[in-house]
């Protein structure tokens, strides 16, 4: 008992644990899958920042800065969202340590880049001197003294612009490196999230399968026991020799009929059949059973009974007789009588009683020990069983005598 109880408790606990694991892993995997989606956006935007930075620097160097204002603003917004999260680009704030450091670094480099661009623009102005227009140093020295100052100033300006452009290129390179680092961090974080989500989905599938299997095992066990009990029911209500219902089944069915109070009359016919000489009792009983089954009528059930004290039937020569019982609940009394008659005729036609002199045994002779009880209602069927059929035989005999008189 202890082991059985423990086993049952263990099965119940494991079922609960499996269900909890399935639910938790399901919820977590949903969370991580959603996170993977968000991190995917971050990875994509870090790539765009890298490309955008490159375009920005190229345009500044090429003097196309008038195209850049929107780009500068959008890059700034994206970088801010990469750092702190935001709703404009729907970027989430990634809590990964190295990503945070590198994103912060990217922001700083971008600020520096913007300062350099501002200085360069201040020096050159929109559409101003570009690298190819810088005067040659020799040309600058050959100019007039009046122009020499202008040339010298211009030369200094050009030198400063060159320095600023060099700084822009270097800062741009630093920006690309920082953007690459951020993209790399985001990608690693993305893979981690994806792997976690994958592991959780695997756990969920495994635990769900295990839960289903556990439930199936429990259900199969119950199903097997159900089948066993059904077989048990069949065994205890079936007569082993003939396969017909037995007395116990008669008791069950009559009790059911008694409880249901059927509108049609309930009758019981008990009959004793002498086993023909030269025929085994069991073989004879089976042949009669075959006839009863073949000619089965609606609302008439056949039973093989044994003479017993409980039944009120005494049979001194039990080996030479077989007892059957018909329980019916139908208003068609004639139909039942016909059934019996037909049954007798069929026996004759099939020449079962080979040893009999008269091959055409009529129903009357065949059922010479039969008891015909009509219109048993309510408790009467039960009483029939309880008080014995013999009493009913006596009652019927008395009734018959009275009718004759």
């Amino acid at each position: 008992m202890q082991s059985s109880k423990k086993r049952k408790i263990a099965v119940q606990i494991s079922a609960i644990v499996l269900i909890v694991i399935t639910v938790v892993s399901g919820v977590l995997s949903l969370y991580y899958l959603r996170n993977v989606d968000d991190v995917g956006r971050v990875v994509m935007y870090t790539g765009r920042v890298r490309g955008g930075g490159q375009l920005l620097v190229t345009r500044e160097l090429n003097g196309d800065s008038y195209n850049n204002p929107d780009l500068i603003v959008s890059l700034g917004d994206v970088i801010n969202e990469l750092n702190d999260g935001g709703s404009r680009y729907s970027l989430v704030k990634i809590k990964d340590g190295s990503f945070r450091v590198d994103a912060d670094e990217l922001k700083k480099v971008y600020t520096t880049l913007c300062i350099v661009i501002s200085e360069l623009r201040l020096e050159t102005g929109v559409g101003s001197v570009i690298v190819e227009d810088i005067p040659d140093a020799d040309t600058l020295t050959m100019g007039t003294p009046k122009n020499k100052d202008k040339i010298a100033v211009e030369a200094e300006k050009q030198v400063h612009i060159t320095e600023l452009r060099t700084r822009l290129i270097k800062t741009g390179e630093a920006f690309y490196t920082a953007a690459d680092m951020v993209a790399s961090d985001a990608e690693i974080y993305y893979h981690k999230q994806a792997e976690t989500a994958q592991a959780l989905v695997t756990v969920m599938i495994v635990s769900f399968t295990a839960a289903i299997l556990t439930a199936a095992v429990i259900l199969i066990r119950v199903k097997i026991l159900n089948v066993k009990i059904e077989n048990y029911e069949k065994i205890i209500y079936t007569d082993e020799m003939t396969g017909l219902y037995n007395e116990r089944a008669f008791m069950r069915d009559s009790e059911k009929l008694r409880k249901s109070v059927p509108m049609s009359p309930v009758g019981v016919i008990v009959f004793r059949l002498p086993v023909p000489q030269g025929m085994a009792r069991s073989a004879f009983a089976r042949k009669i059973t075959a006839l009863l089954t073949e000619n089965k009528k609606v609302n008439v059930s056949a039973y093989r009974v044994k003479p017993s004290v409980e039944l009120g039937l005494s049979d001194e020569t039990s080996d030479s007789n077989v007892w059957f019982l018909l329980l019916y609940h139908t208003a068609e009394k004639d139909s039942v009588e016909e059934y019996i008659t037909q049954f007798g005729t069929t026996v004759s036609a099939r020449n079962l009683l080979q040893t009999s002199n008269d091959n055409r045994i009529n129903a009357k002779i065949f059922f010479d020990s039969a008891v015909y009880v009509d219109s048993l209602r309510d408790n009467t069927v039960f009483e029939l069983y309880a008080h014995g059929v013999q009493k009913l035989v006596d009652r019927m005999n008395t009734k018959n005598k009275g009718e004759k008189q």
Partner: protein, 99 residues
């Protein structure tokens, strides 16, 4: 049919499982033999001979409801030592239910 019965209720054993009671009454008992033991038994005919026989030791008795064609295992379950004790318990349970 040489059917076995105990206190006027059918009894059927199949392997380690015993069914007791009439399904039509609404309840039966499902008894499962959990462990067996070997005991010495004297031969009734030859009293000098002692043979080993295996008898159930611990049995689990469970009440089963068989109402309206459906079978339901109730929570009423107990373990008894010895076949006699198990059958007595089952008989009492069925008696209580059919009272």
């Amino acid at each position: 049919m040489n059917e076995l019965s105990y206190k006027n209720r059918p009894l059927l054993r199949k392997g380690n499982e015993i069914f007791y009671g009439e399904p039509s009454t609404g309840y039966i008992c499902y008894i499962k033999i959990q462990s067996e033991k070997t005991v010495k038994s004297e031969n009734k005919e030859k009293k000098d001979e002692v043979t080993d026989i295996t008898v159930p030791e611990t049995l689990e008795v469970q009440l089963v409801e068989c109402a309206d064609g459906s079978i339901k295992f109730t929570e009423q379950k107990v373990t008894r030592t010895g076949f006699s004790n198990a059958l007595t318990t089952a008989d009492i349970w069925l008696g209580q239910k059919l009272r």
